[in-house]
Amino acid sequence: MTGASGTEGAVARPTRARRQAEPLVPQGPARASAHVCQAAGCLSMGSDTLFAELKERVLASGARDVAVKRVGCLGLCSAGPLVEVPEQGRMFERLDQPGGVPLDELVASLTGGALGGRELGEEPFYSRQVKVVLERSGRVDPEKIEDYVADGGYEALTKAMTTMSPDEVIDEVVKSGLRGRGGAGYPTGLKWRTVAKAAAGPEGKYVVCNADEGDPGAFMDRSVLESCPQQVLEGMAIAAYAVGASRGYVYARAEYPLAVKRLTTAIRQAEREGYLGREVLGTRFDFQVEVRIGAGAFVCGEETALLASIQGGRGTPRPRPPYPATSGLWGCPTLINNVETFANIASLVERSGEAFASIGTERSKGTKVFALTGAVTNTGLIEVPMGLSLREIVFDIGGGLAEGRKFKAVQTGGPSGGCIPEHLLDMTVDYETLSQAGSIMGSGGMIVMDDTSCMVDVARYFMDFCREESCGKCLPCRVGTQEMYLLLNRICSGRAGMVHLARLEELATMVRATSLCGLGQGAPNPVFSTLRYFRDEYMAHIQDQVCPAGVCQIEGVPAVAGTHAGSHGGER
């Protein structure tokens, strides 16, 4: 996968170009500061050159009390490049783009002219969100630890290490009700306690951050790492202190070169400032973190496969138990949490478990970050309290669908998730409700589909994904995903009979029950959920040889009467 990921040299020397990229900082307090989003979305719209240009314009204007600052993701990626001026409560969208805000308008705003852009307070996209994980995202410079510290960063680690015992830290996490944000929703505090109680292995214990965000349509972790990598590292350091680990790894996708670069910079700076490394905060607590870069294998998001990959091998999962919490890296107890989970820790420790638990629902506490994409007006990164309804997310925050398009489904949970239809839009978003509806919370991808999407085709798309990403170790996943793909292909092309549909359902049930890891067990989910809510679309393909959405190419060959799934006919 990709030349997209020529990871840049870890630590670049400050070249001329780099010095130019330094923010503009006024001598005294800033009257207005332009927060220029420098996360991947806006960067691809040219926000780096815009940043330089803006600085020059401000300097040229002679204003001495205006700051121009590089920040992380501001959320509404579809309206990039974005610049926020927090002192004025203004957001400038599509800056310098056709149909967007002209640069002059921003410069005028900053230098005492008429206030431009959009007022933030009234926009539901911004006002309906609650930011815990992304609190500092659009506020601090992702490449400067000083900025993070000045914003209150590492106060939680200091508090934990100076005023709390490891057990007390774990108690707080348990009290918070925080559950794993990687998808499965296992209670974080319980996991920490298991690792803390486990006897250390020959090489101690490990803390691993799972940043192998592989679900197509999900970019929460990328954004967090690009926007505020220190927050993740602080969470890891607190975890290491709590469970007694001295080594940590962040396993990140190769597809995210900018995230890897900022993370690497962040580790170097944190070591320099004594928040990581041999003597954390001048104590005997030793915690060293390394980055390991994945190499394009979705299955490595599964924890045992991830560990195999960190150890330099093929990323194939192994049966559990033993769980990594008791036997992980090199047989040592290993705590594995996802990026967003770690990003919650600092605020949780700083404010208290109870405060954290005051947000959310009975069994799903806190907030959840979603990548809202697809056929919705406002696409981007959002953070909402657990328990908001899907309708509020899609129609209020997301701004609904484009003019004239009809809502069909929201896909959540990636290839192991499902499609939620219109009549369930009022359901709340939490772990249990989503799973009852046949989907999962997953890592947080949320893809809105309109009437131009064919749900059988969507099921086939995900099965195609799974068959290519299957590691090939266990038979049901290796061959079952392949066979399900062929059956779906047959249905999509109008060559299937009812017998093939029955076969698909049987096989899906078998693969779910017998596969070794979550990839295979979850692979049938898109099939189940589309069958549950959109069976009529399957029937249209089978009985009438028609694709209602007009997506599938019907071959018009009538289904044969055989009971065998028949020829793959070059579909491989």
């Binding site: 294998a297 299955v299 192994r318 299957s470 090939g472 049901p476 392949q482």
Partner: protein, 235 residues
């Protein structure tokens, strides 16, 4: 220190050591659970999913080869559902490569073929994948026929764990996974192979065989297997 555990398998009370797996206890008690990737003496990997069993009070199925016994477990090894799943597993093994029993050197001595028979599998319902795969006959004594390989990994493990050569590994992934020697180089040119033949001995099908054997001439070899791997592990 292992302790005694009591559990119930298929309605029978059985006693086991705490370090035993469900599979070994079942077999000790004459309860047959089919397996393909398991071989006594090699590390179990739980990959073929043929030995899945039901545990009372749990919705999840467990692979018997890697599940440690626990006090009071109530296990079912052959419900209608399990048998149906096992038939499907065997069917998919047949369909993923080109298994033509009639012209296979392992005809009559093949574990895949016997498993199909034991499960009364009479025909296949899913589509054959018919991959175009190679036969490697470059080794002076042995042949690798990818058409018959079920990726059980026994050869990989016996070569790594017993012979210590690690000639074999798996390349690629998913449906493109293939058994390879060295850098995917022909077996005859392998610089690591000791020609010990252990991989051939442990192959459950006709994927690895000795030259000069013909169709339906049994790969008379199973008797050696315990000596190859069993004693080594117990020692």
């Amino acid at each position: 220190m292992s302790e005694v555990r009591t559990l119930v398998i298929d309605g029978r009370d059985v006693a086991a050591n705490s370090d035993q797996t469900l599979l070994s206890v079942a077999r000790e008690n004459g309860i047959a659970i089919p397996t393909l990737c398991h071989l006594e003496g090699l590390t179990d990997i739980g990959a073929c999913r043929l030995c899945m069993v039901e545990l009372e009070g749990s919705k999840k199925l467990l692979p018997a080869c890697v599940t440690q016994v626990q006090e009071g477990m109530r296990v079912v090894t052959s419900s209608e559902r399990l048998l149906e799943y096992r038939r499907r597993v065997i069917e998919m093994f047949f369909l993923e490569r080109n298994h033509v029993c009639a012209v296979c050197v392992a005809n009559n001595s093949c574990e895949l073929q016997s498993a199909a028979r034991a499960l009364s599998l009479t025909h296949f319902e899913l589509a054959p994948l018919h991959p175009d795969v190679a036969v490697d006959a470059t080794h002076e004594r042995f042949v690798l026929d990818q058409n018959r390989c079920i990726l059980c990994g026994r050869c990989v493990r016996v070569c790594d764990e017993i012979e210590g050569a690690h000639v074999w590994d798996i390349r690629g992934r998913g449906a493109n996974a293939r058994l390879v020697s060295d850098m995917g180089t022909p077996w005859g040119e392998s610089t690591t192979c000791t020609s010990c033949g252990k991989c051939v001995q442990v192959c459950p099908t006709g994927a690895l065989f000795e030259k000069g054997r013909s169709v339906a001439e049994p790969k008379a070899r199973r008797p050696y297997v315990p000596y190859l791997v069993g004693h080594h592990r117990r020692a």
